[in-house]
Structure formats: C-alpha cells, structure tokens
Symmetry: D3
Subunit: 141 residues, 6 copies
C-alpha cells in the first residue's frame, strides 16, 4: 500500500457543551495542524499516489472554509461539539467530495482510503480514517 501525506493548518474559535469538557465549555480556540494521508494499492501512470499540487490546493480550500471562524456559528455544525475527532471526520468528508468532483484529478478516483489527523498541541492529536466512497460516507456517518 502506498501513501502520500500533505500538511496544512487552520485557526478557529469554538466552545463545547457538556460537563465532561470542564473549562473547555468556555469560548476558546485552537490551531489545528492537519495531516491528510491518501492511500492506494498501485501508483498511477506518472508514479504518483495523487498529484501533490492538486491535493494541497484541495486541502487548503477545505481548510479556508473553516479558517478564522467561530465554529459555534457554522450552521452545518449546529448542535454538535466540534471536537478534534469530529472535525477530522468533517474534513475527511469534504475531501471525499473534492475527490468525487474530480478536483484531485482523474487518477485520484483510484484512491482507496484516507486518514485525516488534526494536531491540536504538542501533546494531543485526533484522527479519522476510512475507505473513500464508502456508502456510509454520505448517509449514516
């Protein structure tokens, strides 16, 4: 199995609901350094997992839609705790849609799985990984 990984980041404000969160129930924020790993069994005709330029641009676009925002006011996340693990899946799904729309190139349709990791500090990170195009991706998840 081959992997290619690109890194970028975004900076947001948010708050959590639930006593389990303690002081993180207050409005606070985070820098998330994001690693996205794309995986496939065989390389494409150019010897690539995915065009790294297109992959970086797609990731940057997905993060730009969240960057410099208060996630408490993002309608799509209404009623949800935007925990690091939750955001990892939200970014996974948005990238899956980019691939589906062909934004990572035709060869990217052969990608099999992805892993999205969000580093929230030097001592904690969370990730979501799964197959790309899994029917669960648009429905139950």
């Amino acid at each position: 199995m081959f992997s290619l990984c690109v890194r970028d980041h975004f900076m947001i404000a948010h708050s959590f609901e639930g006593t389990v969160f303690g002081p993180a129930q207050n409005l606070h924020g985070a820098t998330y350094v994001v690693d996205v790993e794309f995986r496939r069994r065989e390389l494409d005709a150019d010897g690539l997992v995915v065009d790294i330029g297109l992959a970086s641009t797609a990731l940057h676009g997905v993060l730009a839609a969240l960057n410099y925002r208060n996630l408490d006011e993002v309608e799509e996340f209404s009623g949800r705790n935007t925990t690091t693990e939750f955001l990892a899946r939200a970014i996974f799904e948005r990238l899956e849609q980019c691939i589906g729309r062909g934004e990572l190139g035709d060869a990217a349709r052969a990608l099999e799985s992805m892993r999205v990791a969000l580093h929230e500090s030097h001592v904690a990170w969370a990730a979501y990984e799964g197959p790309i195009g899994d029917p669960r991706s648009s429905a139950e998840r």
Copy 2:
C-alpha cells in the same frame, strides 16, 4: 475509525542481558516520550473518542509508577530485558487495566484498540498495538 492520541514521558535506568546488546549491557538509561493512541469506530454521545483529561491522567499515573526508577530493580520485570518494544506492551497492558477499572470513564469501554509508541531518541522508536480486552491480553501475551 477514530483515534485520539496523548503524549507524556518518563525517565529510567536499566541494563540489558545478551551479547546482541553490546554496550547497552551496561547500566544506562533513557527518556521515553510516550504516545498513546485510543481507537473506536464511532464517537460517544459527547463527540469524543475518550475524555482527554481522564486519558492523560491515566497515562501519567501509569508512567509515574516507572518514572525515575532503575527498571533492573522492578520485580515485575525480573528476568526480562526492558527493551523499548517490551515496555510499550507493558504500558499497553497497564492502560488496558485502567480502562477495565473504569478510570477512563464509562464511555471508554467502547474503545476497540490502542497503540503505545515509545520514542527513545530522534532516530528510534518502538510500539505495541492491539485490540483492547483481547483474551490474549491477560494470558498468552
């Protein structure tokens, strides 16, 4: 699959038996920077893999029992080489017991697997990963 990872460290002395270890047969020591990754298929009701506060406290407790010690004098490890990979599993098993005792919260009982990685320098690390609560964990392993 979702993951959450926390980092901590401990500092110990030890020596190894066996000519394969060369100069590491001498009493020496190491700082181990420890990453513990907790994994589960679905998030809990709060949107979490595990309560990061409880997870960090449990890890800190497990490492505190080893920190600032000469592992050659720890009875539980008697007759064993406390290699980095061996210690990764020892910490895995102790954390598995914490989960079993409910120290990471009730929701943590849905954790499926764990990976414990010990970084011994900027050029070497070792890890142990496996399912949580596997019957092999208390017996054959």
Copy 3:
C-alpha cells in the same frame, strides 16, 4: 551562558482590529505552544539554572489564567491586539513577577534574562526576550 527551557501550551479565542489583519479580524482562535528559556551566567549550588519543577509550575499557572478564554474579554488586554508577539511579552512580564515573588525559588533571583516563544502553527512563531528586572519592565514597555 546557561539556559534551561520548559514547554507548555494554552488555547484561546480572540480577534484583531485593523485592516492589516484581513480575515483574522474575525473571532477565531489559536493553540500556543510556549517555550520559556531562563538564562544565567553561572549555575546555582545544585548545578541548576532554575528548579525545573518550580519553573514548570509557574509557567503552567501563568498559562492557566489565559487558557480556555476569549482574550477579547480579558480586561487587561482591552484596546490591544493580542498578537502572538504581544502575548509573548505579556507572559514574559507575568513570569518576571513570579520570579520577583520568589515562586521559582531563591536561587532564581540570579536569573539574568528570559526568552518566551509562542508557536502558533508549524510555520509561524513569535518571541519576546529581555533582561529580567529591567526597570523598563514595569514602566515604558
């Protein structure tokens, strides 16, 4: 010259005023990973720059007062842009006061200078460094 450095972090929300800040004029947030370097010419009688336990506790206390907060609502920062470089000095001054109150131990009074660096992402950081106890510290700065 000897140095000792300890690392910790805090997570905040804030916004900036001024068109130079572009989208960062929105309420957003950051994780700051903080490195504090303490410096002195000679070691103390124990062979130390400073008691690392006391230094870590003092830093943690200073950061706890800011952690999980919206800095736009912190009265002390009213009317100021809480940029990374500004916060580096704010933390410098609070640590200087800890040293003055003896919270880092008596030996810490021989510390000569400090450097506070805040890493806001994998591609940007800011720092403030200066002598400790400089008369400018409470006045002009």
Copy 4:
C-alpha cells in the same frame, strides 16, 4: 503487533517527466528523511523486534547506495519517475533483500511487514508498506 522504527536520510538530485510535475520537470533535488518501521507479532528471545544496530546499518547501507547521486543517471530507475512514493518502495525492496540475505540477523526472518516513509519537507511525505517476502515483491510489483 510490535514495531521498531529507525530513521536516517539521503540527499539526491533528479527530474521528472510529465506535465503533471510542472517546474519539478527541471533538474532539482531533495533531502529524504527516511523512517523504516519493522513489524512482527511476537518479540524474539532477547525481547526485540529486530537488532536495532543491524537494522540501522542495513538502512544506512541501502541509503548510501543512493546518497549524493543524480537519480536520473541510476540505471535501475531508467525510464521511471523517482517520485517519493516510488523511492519508498525501492527502499522497501532493497531492505527486504537485506533481510533475505540475513543481514538483519536470523531473528529478523520472523519480521512480518515493513513500512518505509520518506519525508521530503516539513509539509509532505510518502510511504510504502506491505508484507515481507510476499511473492509479489520480486515479480509484479
């Protein structure tokens, strides 16, 4: 499952063929920081995944054969784009041969899989992982 990972690096020149590569069609170069993770289900009699000294020496030897070279002139790679992902597999296969020749010791024959990751910058890496001794390794791959 146990893992042991060692790190080393090499520095090469190369160019790519194909418009997808844009300016990377020019002769340029890279430092690759290489992480090789060795995996097996049970530790050997010494409590090891693999002798770290032999593993480091084998990796250093494999990288030395590529280090300080223009990969465009390496006959084995003729007609191929030496992308980061392609090189990850090339190094995997060379290490697999080292294991087969007994250069990592007899106990290393129990290794089950390997993962070779090449970090090409602070924002990108690629990897190849697979079973060791898989019949595909010498044929179709």
Copy 5:
C-alpha cells in the same frame, strides 16, 4: 527584543568543489526548510513585528526564484560553493532587498535584524544572522 518567524521550503540540485566535500562533489540535491526570524525592539502600531502575510509572501517569492533549480547553473552563484551556510546569507540578502523596496510594508523598515536558518536534514542546519541595512550588506559581505 521581539521576534517573528515564518517557515517555508525549497528543493534544489547542486554539487560542490573541493576534496573536503567528499561524495558531495557529485551532483546531488537537498530540501531546505527555511526559518526566517525578523527582529525589532518595539512593536508597530498594530502590535506586530511585521505583517506575517507580507513576510510569508516575500519569503515564498525569494525561495521560488531558487526552487526546482540546479544551483550549479545559477549565474549569480557561479564559482561559489552553494553550501547551506552560503545559501542562508544569499536568502538574507534577498530578503533585505525586499524590505528595502517596501515589500514587507512601511512598518518593516523598523526591523533591526534577521536570522535565516536552513534545515537540510533532521540532523543538520545552518544559519546567517545580522543587522538589516548594515553597510557591509551590499559591499564587503
């Protein structure tokens, strides 16, 4: 003293002349991860060392002029060994010119010094630091 640092990278081929370089006399290459630290005594009216957006854009432009090239063919470097330390100063001087031309904003004219560090691997880096606008910069250096 305040600092602000931004990071970017470039990837080049080159070779060295002189037996001291051993195998690095061959055409090879490197990824350089570049940290540029800007320094000044007081913050500007916005609470900044320098506009981080302009600083990042200027650095990216300076590196783009070198990225994906064979430095042996860059006329400006003709007859010089493009060692890591030499390149650190070359980038310093180009950024100094950007500041002089106002590309980092008017407030950047108050910058006092800069430090340019090039990381060539996980075990080696080189840097050049000095005052900005020092008369030596355009002449003797």
Copy 6:
C-alpha cells in the same frame, strides 16, 4: 554571523543529590538529543563554517565516551550533579579541546563561539554557550 549545527544523542543513567531534585534523587536515566551550533563571522575558503563530517565525528566521539554509562561512576563528575545544564558545559569543554587539537580541521580554529543544547524530553532542554578559547574555559568555569 554564520552558524552550523549538527545533532546526535546519548543515553545514560545517573542520580542527583539534594532535596530540590525530589524523585530524581533515585537512580534513573535520560536520552539526551544534543545540538551543537558552531559560529564564526566569515566563512572559510570552501564556503563553510566547519567541515560537517569532522564536526559530526568529533561530536560522536565526545558522546561515545559518555554513552551507555552510569554517570555516577564517572570519576571526572565525582561530587557533581550531572544536570542537563552541567552536561551541556561538559560537552562544550570537550569539543573545545577537540578544536584545539585540530580534530575539526585547521579552518575550525577560526570558530568564535559554540552553543551546546541537550534535549531531555519533548518539554525540556538546557544549553551552554560561550566563546571558544576564552581563558575562563580552562580555569574558573
């Protein structure tokens, strides 16, 4: 001012005397990841701060003399606490002697200063820096 930095590591056991050290009074150990920065005003005729091969070999030799040892039994350190900051200076002095003996090459005699940093974990490091060949180095220090 130009700098060149090389990194290596060593692993030791030791204990400390003095109640300030708390549990670190026990025999324990550490991995120290060591960064040595060499500094000079002008590059040598080859465009170098120092021959990186000779510098790495000298550092490796200095660390090899301490690696895999119990520092409590090293006669030279008898009666001293081998704190991280103390060890940074000890390594500084040994490297200074290497330079004096010509082990880093003739050009290395133009080195002006050095900084030795020891990383003991992901959250703490200590350093010693100073001029090379300062008369204080063999006497009062």
